[in-house]
Amino acid sequence: MEDPSRRQLFQIIGSSLIVSPAFAQHVHSEIAAVKSLSGGATYVPKKFNRHNFLLLRKLGEIIIPGSTESGAAEYIDFLASHNDELAAIFNGGFGWLDNYMQKTYGADFLAASEAQRTEVVDKLAYTKNSVPAVAAGVPFWTWTRNMVVDAYYTSPVGVKDIGFMGNGAMSSFSVPKEAVDYALKRSPFANEG
């Protein structure tokens, strides 16, 4: 599973050499060349049915655009296949959501229009919009949101998005002056010099 840059890093770490900043940068750019964790259209869900899996992907994209590439739906499906309580939370949530959409709009979540989906998601997502009719869907929404956030930011695309630049190896540690200046200028110590 390891890509060449990982193997190379381990070889170096394993042989106790000091690694140059240039190499660390190389490792970082390798990581930045995003590897998708999405199983693509051919992915066979382990726990959810095809319809629900696609519904989950759609929800994921709404919560975090780009989360399909991070493998968020695959991550949740994998864990649901190992945890019945989690599977019940999600399958129950899918069932509730499609049923609510059918009753309200005459179409399930995937078949509904963009505007209809936004309408229900806004009710689930913001306390100020909450109505009793969607209360039963809120725990499912929270679970999905938390797990999509987790999946996205623990994937190459999410790590790149947030700008994490570590996990390398370098021969010395330094702090860029522009970062220090940036923070000091905005801090209560701005005028201390």
Binding site: V149, Y153, T154, G166, N167, G168, V175, A183, S187
Partner: protein, 572 residues
């Protein structure tokens, strides 16, 4: 009863436990040409295979949450996260402990070669002169039978060998040592330094067991910040890699892993003659004969072993004529406050990994202040920076900021790296209500009677927590930040760590001059049993705000050298 097999060979020295104390003993004795057998209750460690250094979360399908999504359901199968070094558990299946009614105590145990040194925070602070003579200092606690000046040369040796960052500051509460160069402070740490200056709180380079220069054949740090995962280059100190493995190469060390000590055996003269242990793989009892035993199983586990070693000569447990085995149990006082610092929002991204943990810290700064409502003091551990995103990293901001889509991403991006934390690590004064003893009815899966813990914080520690809370809020506010932790509750007991939670247990076999009131002499030798030593944090009188590991190493070192001299003289 399993059949007891007696090994005919008589070993020189048997060491029980391979953490800081046991590792040091093994290293020092084999360096002096003495043959040692090491018993470790856990398995052998293979850093190349067992350490998850440099792994990304996506390299495992479950991303670190546990193969069955355990973390989402509050089942912490990995106490400090999946990617950390194999490090032990709050609850070991089949090896329970009990707590007395009203006692809140957690007991973290490692069962692995190297013990807790594989993952510990590596903060390495010398005890000060008053820490060795606390009773003389302010009338509380009991004095060590040695003074700082007697420990200082052993601190030198320990620091020289381990490799510790730091700078000379000349502060009484933070004695200077033999230091490697410090690591430059990260951006948030520079803001903390400025805040400290404003508030008259010192913020100095941290003293950590990571190599900013190569020493003793161990490579210099490569600044990935992942010391807690275990370091494959051994640039962060662990007793397994720096002490036990090299000792194995001398040919003088025999390692028996998977060996859970049950009892120490004595002869009619009251000397230890061997160790009875469970070979876990086969569930059989075995006996190893030896000339001397050095116990370093961790403060509470060592007390348990002595208390379980009852005989006609020692009806209350081995070396327990004083009744002090298991008594005077202490842990560190813990309390933390976190905040977010707007000045860090939108800062140019950079690699802030550095060494694992803080690059600066605050030693106790009010030693000379009169009229405090608690004795002694605490140090402050500072957290922050751009950590590798993990499962749960953004759960806080996601819970606070409603919404989804681009808005949610923006909120998370803005929040990332703006958080700082201040964790107080303070001194607890030993008290009569905090101790461990053998539970009268419960045994573990090996048939070994388990420990029962009694625990009570006193007003001293609770008052200290109030001081911590106020100080940390003041620091965050001085940085222009917003405190995100809850206010201090009316009942401070809800804000102080549980007993054992900071994993600095100490004091269960305290050393002293008087055999009636102490278990060990100044050389960590049992008063009643000269060929028995205890060299973890059990010998400590008190538990200063300096964390325990460096002093365990220094004390084990001097005790091992003394033991070697006694062997040479024929006294052991």
């Amino acid at each position: 009863m399993p059949q007891v097999q007696k090994a005919p060979e008589v070993h020189d020295i048997v060491v029980i436990g391979s953490g800081a104390g046991g590792g040091t003993t093994v290293k020092v004795l084999t360096d002096l040409g003495i043959k040692v057998t090491l018993l470790e209750a856990g398995p052998m460690l293979n850093p190349a295979k067992d350490f998850r250094e440099h792994m990304w979360p996506w390299e495992v399908d479950h991303r670190g949450v546990g193969p069955n999504a355990e973390n989402y359901f509050g089942k912490d199968i990995y106490p400090f996260g999946y990617f950390l070094a194999p490090n032990g558990f709050w609850n070991i299946p089949g090896e329970p402990f009990t707590t007395a009614p009203g006692s809140d105590f957690k007991w973290f145990r490692s069962r692995i070669m190297g013990g807790r040194t594989n993952h510990y925070g590596r903060i390495s602070l010398r005890f000060s002169d008053y820490d060795f003579k606390p009773q003389q200092f302010d009338g509380l606690g009991t004095d060590w039978p040695l003074k700082y000046d007697e420990m200082a040369p052993w601190y030198d040796k320990a620091e020289d060998f381990i490799g510790i960052t730091g700078t000379h500051e000349g502060m009484r509460s933070a004695p200077d040592g033999k230091f490697l160069p410090p690591v430059p402070p990260r951006v948030h740490e520079q803001l903390v330094q400025r805040a400290g200056k404003k508030l008259n709180i010192p913020v100095i380079p941290s003293r950590m067991a990571m190599l900013t220069k190569s020493v003793h054949g161990r490579a210099a740090c490569h600044y990935c910040g992942q010391c807690g995962r275990g370091c494959r280059t051994a640039s962060a100190f662990s007793s397994s890699q720096a002490m036990v493995f090299p000792a194995m190469k001398t040919g003088l060390l025999t390692v028996i892993s998977g060996a859970m000590a049950r009892e120490l055996l004595v002869d009619g003269s009251g000397k230890v003659t061997g160790v009875s242990y469970v070979d876990k793989a086969t569930r059989t009892d075995k006996v190893i004969r030896c000339k001397a035993v050095v116990v370093a199983a961790s403060a509470c586990e060592s007390a348990r072993l002595l208390l379980n070693s009852k005989s006609t000569l020692f009806p209350n447990g081995l070396a327990n004529g004083s009744g002090q085995v298991g008594r005077n149990l202490t842990d560190t006082v813990g309390h933390a406050v976190t905040g977010v610092i707007p000045a860090l929002e939108g800062m140019p991204r950079h690699n802030s990994d550095g060494i694992g943990g803080m690059h600066v810290y605050t030693p106790w700064w009010e030693l000379d202040k009169k009229n405090k409502d608690f004795p002694r003091g605490y140090h402050i551990e500072i957290g922050g920076g751009y950590g590798m995103p993990q499962i749960g990293s953004f759960r806080g901001v996601a819970a606070k900021a409603e919404g989804y889509g681009t808005k949610l991403k923006d909120d998370i991006r803005r929040y990332y790296g703006t958080q700082v934390s201040f964790a107080g690590r303070g001194e607890m004064i030993p008290n009569e209500k905090s101790f461990c003893e053998i539970d009268p009815v419960q045994v573990d899966q090996w048939g070994i009677p388990v420990l029962r813990f009694h625990w009570q914080w006193s007003e001293y520690e609770l008052n200290m927590v109030k001081h911590m809370h106020k100080t940390f809020r003041g620091m965050i506010e001085a940085m222009g930040g917003r405190v995100t932790s809850p206010d201090l509750p009316a009942n401070t007991l809800q804000a102080i760590s549980a007993g054992g939670e900071i994993i600095h247990e100490a004091g269960t076999c305290r050393m002293g001059e008087n055999p009636k009131t102490s278990v060990l002499n100044k050389w960590s030798q049992a008063h009643e049993v000269p060929n028995l030593l205890v060299v973890d944090a059990a010998p400590f009188n008190g538990n200063p705000d300096k964390n325990v590991t460096l002093t365990i190493v220094a004390n084990a070192w001097r005790s091992a050298v003394h033991l070697a001299e006694e062997i040479k003289k024929g006294n052991v």
